[in-house]
């Protein structure tokens, strides 16, 4: 597989785009979260199977409507969090994800942010659904969660404007 067009993506991004790991809907997921929207052209769904007693990620999978970097980012994140405690998974930043991929091109940083935003939404949702308050979970939304929210709101606003014209 090769292309004559120079792509700004690392070898690892292309490899994971071609052969993503942990791809697909999870039937027995403990929790699911989505970040982004079809109108943004970026939408990641994260599924987590969680060991309730240990509060660890047993399995993780994803679905992605998005570009090659988006697919690769979601895929590597589900690999990185496998076996981690929820707190450890929460503390993974978009920069960690980018480094693991051999560096996201700057125009694709938002893919990493969106994937981490989706993961944090899932973890937040998990605690909320169990009505358990975690000691380490911040009450305020983090930058990654806010970024996902911002992207969704901008598109919502654009649609409203289009409708009102």
């Amino acid at each position: 597989m090769s292309t004559r067009i120079p792509l700004p993506h690392s070898h690892k991004i292309i490899e994971l785009f071609r052969n993503p790991k942990n791809m697909g809907y999870m039937d027995d997921a403990s929790v699911k979260a989505i970040a982004g929207s079809p109108a943004c052209g970026d939408m990641i769904a994260i599924y987590l199977k969680i060991d309730d007693g240990k509060e660890t990620v047993v399995r993780a999978s994803f679905e992605s409507y998005g570009c090659a970097a988006n697919i690769a980012t979601a895929s590597i994140l589900t690999e990185m969090i496998k076996g981690l405690s929820l707190e450890e998974a929460w503390n993974i930043s978009w920069k960690n994800v980018s480094d693991e991929l051999g560096g996201l091109p700057s125009i694709k940083y938002h893919c990493g942010i969106l994937a981490v935003g989706a993961l944090r939404r899932a973890i937040r949702e998990y605690y909320k659904s169990r009505e358990v308050k975690s000691k380490w979970l911040p009450e305020k939304l983090t930058r990654e969660e806010l970024q996902a929210l911002g992207e969704e709101r901008i598109v919502e606003l654009m649609y409203k404007r289009m409708g009102s014209e």
């Binding site: 597989m1 090769s2 292309t3 004559r4 067009i5 792509l7 993506h9 292309i14 785009f17 071609r18 993503p20 791809m23 697909g24 989505i34 079809p38 109108a39 943004c40 052209g41 970026d42 939408m43 990641i44 769904a45 994803f62 679905e63 992605s64 409507y65 998005g66 570009c67 090659a68 988006n70 697919i71 125009i107 901008i154 598109v155 654009m158 649609y159 289009m162």
Partner: protein, 279 residues
Amino acid sequence: MVQVPVDEEGIVDLDILEILIDKDTVLVSIQLVNHEIGSIQPLREISRIVKEINPQTLIHTDAADAYCRIPINVEDLGVDMLTLSNHKILASKGAGALYVRNGVKVEKIIHGALSTQTLWLGVENVPSIVGFHKAAELVYRDFNKQVTYVKELRERLLNGILDEIQEVLVNGLLGEKRVVDNLNVSFLYVEGEAITIELSLNGIYVSSGSACTSRVLEPSHALLAIGRRHEEAHGSILFKLSRYHSPEDVEYTLKVLQESINRLRRISSIKPRRAKNVH
């Protein structure tokens, strides 16, 4: 400056154009063929409307995507100025042409030491201009044959996509009002840049109107102008065909395209409505 809207097929709304032209209108500029969706504008009709209301209004057309694809006659089209571009006819980049009707005065916008005689600031890009001439010559020695050939390839690609891939939208017109080498299709539930990368890894080079490829949040304005929703524009792919493509190239493209769309739809977090109905 005002913009004239287009209908859902990408054709300029002539009724609105008529309302917008008045005694103060200096210039009307309309693309003869849209480079994204291939719509051929009714330029002769547009010129007639404009000149009837204000004979002083100048008419310019960007014919870059029309040249070597449809017959062009400046008298027949009723235009005062027309632009062409080298790279749009399979020549190298770096040259263009401007037709200016006798009697129309055009002032240069960039001034420089060498630009006392011509509209262009610097020295001419001679190799590019020679290539431009040669490329046009190669088309016009058997224009009709080439146009028919390219159209047949495009029709096979279009029909193949419609037959073999579900949930697609053809952007722009079908038939005679679409330029022969252009096909623009939205593949629902997948994002266009992912398709372009997948295809390029298989030696097929296409472009997309997705926001990712333009590096801004908004997808193609041309697709939004014809009423496509953002998610439909994000999944759009522009195919361009030429006399250098073969029927085998089209069959190969169809095969790879079908596999790519199926694969990316399996990954997608948006599932086809049809699949939801089954469950």
